[in-house]
Symmetry: C3
């Protein structure tokens, strides 16, 4: 485990990125330092959300966690939309889902499976994750297909708005399912099923003897969110320079680089739990996070994008949609039976590798 | 439940449609009244088929039911083909399958799941339905893909005919499977697995003390079929006017409006059984009806269309094929484990909503 | 069973093909005789590999079998690449996978299911086969999609090479899985899980009282491989003439004719075991062979093709990729529950028929 002082020191990456931006004009450097600075910020937001959640009772707390779990992705997305980087936003949505399902999920299965012959996990959680993610794929296929055939009736914004309403509604229903009607069944899992690393760790610790006051947690949350907004601005402002220096397509930067950085925290926590054999927690982190991005962050970004007057909608590139569809099917093939082994984890990682290499070659 | 006199009164919709057609020339009105008149007619055909089936012993009776279960769709399809409305016919085939799988199936699962934590149903019936529906998807993908790439060797009619033979053969085999070789296993279900509402209700009633004479049932069947043919003619003749008045694409009318009307009877019966907790019956109605349309009604319509000299074949629009493929996969994701819950039903309804919204925007 | 003298006599097909090639110039005749001559040669290579494997202990023997199991396909592929018939090679890869999964697998299930109500097989073997085959589909979808959109960054050879490395690595891992870490579980199967008919038969016989000396087996292997190379040369040299005489597209010849001939041996052995009710062996033959072609033969051919300077890569035609994707999904739908029945076998055969008819019409 990384010592607490390292996490605190990592906050210094943000002022470093700002200084580099101010004095060097080396966009690539600014971009990567700003990327790195997001990791501790995302973690702090997770910790603060979790601290607040602990004080609010299980139902309201879970709701808070579920809603703010991917706040960093949302803040970054808004900054990118404000500068009109629609491709980056779409790419980072696709990439976050791919990274969570294939990289985090596959890595967790391999880690857990190295010392265990057979890994078991909650089938109900697996099948409801697969179903909701498949709905997200349908929601992207429909506008993407319509945008390909030159279609006079097709109104991208209107169609995307309507679909976004369905997605957000479905997200609310899936919360209702796991927090109310089927709490006991998903429950034994649910208790330790956390979207952010901080939550996950918190659940393992005995409750704080002296929990920090609510006010302090709120201040932490607000400060971290503000810092995330600044880091996002720096990252986005350096994007054009980075893309042209490195000869990388904007979609690749979103799908691979931003997505891996944005989910680094999830990744390390999931692997830690997988190592201990807590597959329900490890896979829960990967799946809940994917679900939240697909059914909550993505539609909220689309609606914000439309309000901001950008070209944001749910029509992704053909390659993004096919990649997402294939990874949800890959997940379904290995997860629906509630059992796994290291070979299936390696299979998910191989699917990620093939898709990632493909994104590098997309113009 | 709707009282019998309402059903009898609903027969008056047919003369009403005819009078409107004769005296008002308001195509939209004629269209919707003719649509509505199909609901009681389809029900009467179902009742009469069922009355005959009851007299013929279980095997021959099931065969009769399985073959005439979607007679209304077939009669309407022939009328539309005679007027060259190929898009409407294809759309109503796609739409009937979508409506049965997603709307009827999803509605039944939600209804059944509101008061029950976990719904169970026959896995063998589920997996054989999914497999046969997937075959239908393959049968549509092949000609559709070939029709897209400008392909000199491609002969749409010949290819479609050959595929139709495979589909009809497979339908015959699936009847053989459920009526002969695996009767006991699908059996406990099969007894109450009915394609039309009338059958389903009949199965729940004790056998008639005085069953109506065969001759009377035959007359009812012939009269209802003739009336359906007239309603279909009225509906089709009003189609062009309706489409241009409402600014709706013909495919949308077929996929959404005609399909929902044509399956209204199935829908109400399936929900009734789901409410009682008879999920095998409720889902059986939805799945058997989809299967019958995909493997029997569609190929028969293609063959009739080719005989009539129209451009009918199995090459659907790209969007129709993708929509069908996604809904069969959605069904597979939730049904193959033989268990469900209300969230999975809501998921099917959400997939239907997204696809339905999409069809509205297809030119 | 076919008597041994028939198999020996069948070796005469090779000189016959050569004489026809030398004296008649009837390309079609040469093509089909050379095709037929591959059947006994493939069998002899299988027998010899098996004889060697028997002497080398289980682990090294299985490895030898797994690596040389599809040697005939590989030799034929190299000959075709040397003459620049890239379409034929791609087609025969697609076709071998389709034939094994759908035709051999479906045929085995129907044969086994005619006398048994319910067929059971090892679920772990089924799910790992489905997963690895799905990876192969992803590996073909990515370059195919990129090759469609005119993409300036896209470098077909480089992308295909990188993906081939992932595939070969995954093949090695899947061997490690079934020969080392999960030997006992796949084991009861594994013992009798053979890629070639000879292996399968050998496993059923008691060990040879006087096993033939290693040197003799090595000579048989080398002679059969050399003869296969000659037959492949004859077949490939007659290809252009055959294709233009019969008005058949090169892809169809590869997908249907070459693939069925190349897998004739697997087919007959699988049916034999299915008839006896050994479904694990029968389906194992079909699945192992598909897996080996997808994850080993195909990438090796791509790398050889690139070394030879041909246009070989992993970008298949759209129809080939969709056909493969659909057949892997079809397999997943019926196999993942570890149970089957004759209707599911008929379903696989029907999918093969529809796809095969489609390939006939692809230009």
């Amino acid at each position: 485990m990384i010592a607490p002082w390292v996490w605190r020191a990592a906050w210094l990456l943000l002022p470093a990125a700002w200084l580099l931006h101010r004095y060097t004009h080396n966009d690539t450097l600014v971009f990567f330092v700003a990327c790195a600075s997001l990791i501790p910020l995302a973690r702090t937001m997770g910790d603060a959300t979790d601290g607040l959640a602990e004080r609010m009772g299980p139902a309201a707390g879970s709701l808070l966690n579920a809603t703010f779990g991917n706040a960093a992705e949302l803040i970054l997305g808004i900054a990118a939309l404000r500068h009109g980087h629609v491709e980056l936003v779409k790419g980072s949505i696709t990439g976050s889902i791919l990274a969570n399902l294939l990289l985090v999920g596959g890595g967790a299965i391999v880690t857990g499976g190295l010392r265990r012959r057979r890994l078991r996990f909650n089938r109900l959680a697996a099948s409801s994750s697969v179903a909701t993610l498949f709905l997200a794929v349908v929601a992207m296929v429909v506008p993407t297909l319509l945008s390909i055939g030159g279609n006079p009736r097709y109104d991208p914004s209107l169609l995307s708005e309507e679909i976004c309403v369905v997605l957000i509604l479905m997200y609310a229903l899936s919360l209702w399912f796991s927090l109310r009607t089927h709490r006991e069944e998903v429950g034994s899992v649910r208790e330790e099923l956390h979207a952010t690393p901080a939550e996950a760790q918190a659940a393992k610790k005995p409750p704080h003897p002296n929990p920090p006051p609510v006010a302090r947690e709120l201040v932490r949350l607000v400060v971290a969110a503000a810092a995330t907004a600044i880091a996002s601005e720096l990252l986005v402002s350096a994007l054009n320079g980075t893309v042209s220096t490195l000869h990388l397509p904007e979609t690749f930067v979103g799908v691979v680089i931003v997505a891996i950085v944005g989910n680094a925290a999830e990744h390390s926590t999931a692997l830690m739990f997988a190592h201990r054999g807590d597959m329900d927690v490890a896979l829960g982190i990967a799946w809940e996070s994917s679900k939240q991005i697909a059914l909550l962050v993505a539609p909220v970004l689309v609606i914000i994008g439309i309000l901001l007057g950008t070209q944001m909608n749910l029509a992704f590139t053909r390659f993004e949609v096919v990649a997402l569809g294939m990874s949800v099917v890959a997940l379904a093939l290995i997860a629906l039976d509630g059992e796994s082994n290291w070979l299936e984890g390696a299979f998910l990682l191989a699917v990620y590798a093939v898709i990632g290499v493909g994104f590098f070659f997309v113009g």
